[in-house]
Symmetry: C2
Subunit: 396 residues, 2 copies
């Protein structure tokens, strides 16, 4: 472990002093307002601060306009949460909306504009017809892909096929991701899916987009997650040990797959990760746990390789042998929360929940899914099929 705890983003240290997530799932009886209240009040309580301490609110959300005809979510939730006169913003970047909200919050803290801010990721998806949700989600895709009738399962199936052809990745390798992440989810009280699943169950589940079956796909979910960030040393040292954000990096690529040089990597992930390791002055070997964007099982394989955890083509073999699972040292633990696959994927909430999970892990407060002695964690959030990628590195 070569982590230098003094390393910080240029200019000023950003501490996470509050973190909270709802249980993800089909939350039929809860409104977006109630989801937001639960997590933001939870994160403020965790931080020991009051609404009047919040200078700005950064909301990560994708679908409220297309599905709920409600925009202006910054002011909407600032009012709901009693942040009178605070600045407020909605930040959108498809499935990466939550971590893009966090990135802008980090910048705002370092800039000195605000001392303490809240980040809220929230999405309510199950109130709408699945076909409407699928159509709305394609709002993140390229015009060509939308015109061709592509869906995200179909696009990730193409990535899976190419990976199989190029590296001999098998159907079972993909399924191993689902088995691992559902096992982790079974240990997480906030997860949408509570039971471990077998490889046989994945292989025998309904076909969605060949080679991906239902259990290769992350679910439609409702949920919210929130963080409180501060530059205030008094707040940051009050109670619990604060967690530092030591890198926050964003990169983009073409919206559509057809415009990419390679279909065996997500370039934006590689780019964001390379920059993040450099800013944090550490290497992937220093990371104890990773929450990565496994919207489909193939996405976890790609991310393991693009984040540099393994060489290209090597992730499948390791996964097959049980690596990246809790309690299977020496490998980094990947998606201890259960990931998008097992914990659920309420679009705008996902990127924030990943960081909430890392905060809990670095505090040693993750219960049955605790990664032993975790000191450094990495969160990786993707929009579309890799058009946006965001990497945060946190340290205690």
């Amino acid at each position: 472990m070569t982590t230098n705890s003094e390393i910080s983003l240029p200019g000023m240290k950003v501490s996470i002093i509050g973190a909270s997530t709802t249980t993800f799932g089909e939350l039929w009886d809860v409104s977006p307002r109630a989801l937001a209240r639960e997590v933001v009040i939870g994160a403020m309580k965790d931080a020991g601060i009051m609404p009047q301490d919040i200078g700005a609110l950064f909301v990560g959300n994708m679908l409220s306009g297309m599905l709920g005809s409600q925009e202006h979510l910054g002011a909407f939730f600032a009012e709901e949460l009693g942040f009178h006169g605070a600045a407020a913003f909605k930040i959108e970047g498809a499935c990466a909306s939550g971590s893009l909200a966090l990135h802008n919050a980090v910048n705002a803290i370092i800039s000195g504009q605000y001392e303490t801010v809240a980040v809220l990721g929230v999405e309510k998806m199950t109130d709408h017809r699945p076909e409407d949700v699928a159509t709305a989600l394609m709002g993140a895709g390229s015009s060509q892909e939308r015109a061709a009738g592509c869906t995200f399962p179909g696009l990730y199936a193409i990535l899976a096929r190419v990976h199989m052809q190029e590296y001999g990745t098998t159907r079972e390798d993909l399924a191993a991701v689902a088995v691992k992440n559902h096992f982790h989810a079974s240990l997480n009280p906030h997860s949408q899916f509570k039971k471990p699943i077998t490889m046989e169950a994945v292989l025998r589940s309904h076909a969605v987009a060949d080679p991906l079956t239902l259990l290769d796909c992350s679910p439609i979910s409702d949920g919210a997650a929130a963080l409180v960030l501060t530059s205030d040393k008094r707040q940051a040292t009050r109670d619990k040990k604060p967690i530092s954000i030591i890198a926050s990096c964003v990169s983009t690529d073409s919206l559509g797959l057809a415009q990419r040089d390679s279909l065996t990597e997500l370039k934006a992930t590689k780019d964001a990760a390379t920059r993040a390791y450099k800013i944090a002055a550490l290497s992937v070997k220093d990371i104890d746990l990773i929450e990565l964007h496994d919207c489909f099982t193939i996405a976890e394989l790609l991310a393991l390789e693009d984040l540099g955890v393994t060489k290209k083509g090597d992730a499948a073999g390791l996964l097959r042998r049980g690596a990246f699972t809790l309690g299977r040292a020496p490998h980094v633990v990947v998606n201890p929360s259960g990931g998008l696959k097992g914990c659920g994927h309420p679009i705008g909430a996902t990127g924030v929940k990943q960081v909430v999970e890392i905060v809990e892990q670095l505090r040693g407060a993750a219960g049955a899914r605790q990664v032993s002695g975790a000191r450094v964690g990495l969160a990786h959030n993707v929009g579309g099929t890799g058009a946006t990628a965001v990497v945060h590195i946190l340290a205690r």
Copy 2:
């Protein structure tokens, strides 16, 4: 004039080195991509930089999801503009989306995350049925107002009625705003409306929401505007004299009017302006020109008062006597671009265009509408009926 050119936001100076706007209007033959290309390439050319110099793109837009089913606009436009690997975000806050994008860009520059960034405000409204646009715009309102069938003209008409009752403001006072701003628009080659209008024309135009007539209302518009910001002193001193952003402040209030203590002021505007004057270490008397959010004529009266240009109830009398018009010293010139009313109001573009106008004015490059000797300008952008307000102060 007590402006101190050394004053800057905490930590670092933010310079605008490129600015560009399309002509606003009904642009039937132009796509959002083409609008974005025109202004971002224009702003980069103005700044003398290349796409590879851009570290991040901040897109202000409200309606692309609800009207165009396209989200993920950050990556969408980053690809279109050739910003390979740059960070990219969509920032939304209803009609204040453009200036909220600028605010987050300012924070990003000061934080040191990026050296040079682009801000793009863009909206394409005329491709859609007017009733769909009106419905989508109410996505910025409160649930109560939407359920009650309110429209923004109707809500601003309530504000106008209360102002008339409280301060004796007349129908003619409102109309004077339209007459002034259309006069200014007639001098602006980028404006949607090219001809001056008479008070009689305003009074005799179709009723929209009593007391507001058609010519009290800003139009449905297409358009885009872009800025290039930098912290890089080499870039900022290369060619043209750079313009400094010396304050960037955001405040929020309740979404709905029913939750407000007062209907004769927009509290968020007062709050954002008070903070901006303090950060810039100047008073409203130091401002040479203001671009303010005149989505309806009553909005200009409220803003003049809430920004502290006049006392409550005094703006109408001054307007009636021709104050705030070009060439009518000693008063500050208000909306020399023609404002939302005369220049047009493509939602997400408006807040950025206001700042483009101020940049042109402070450079002395505003042609027939030049405010003589302008050194300090203020931009004021509102979301909804004042749920979000943003104030930027710029100085040369």
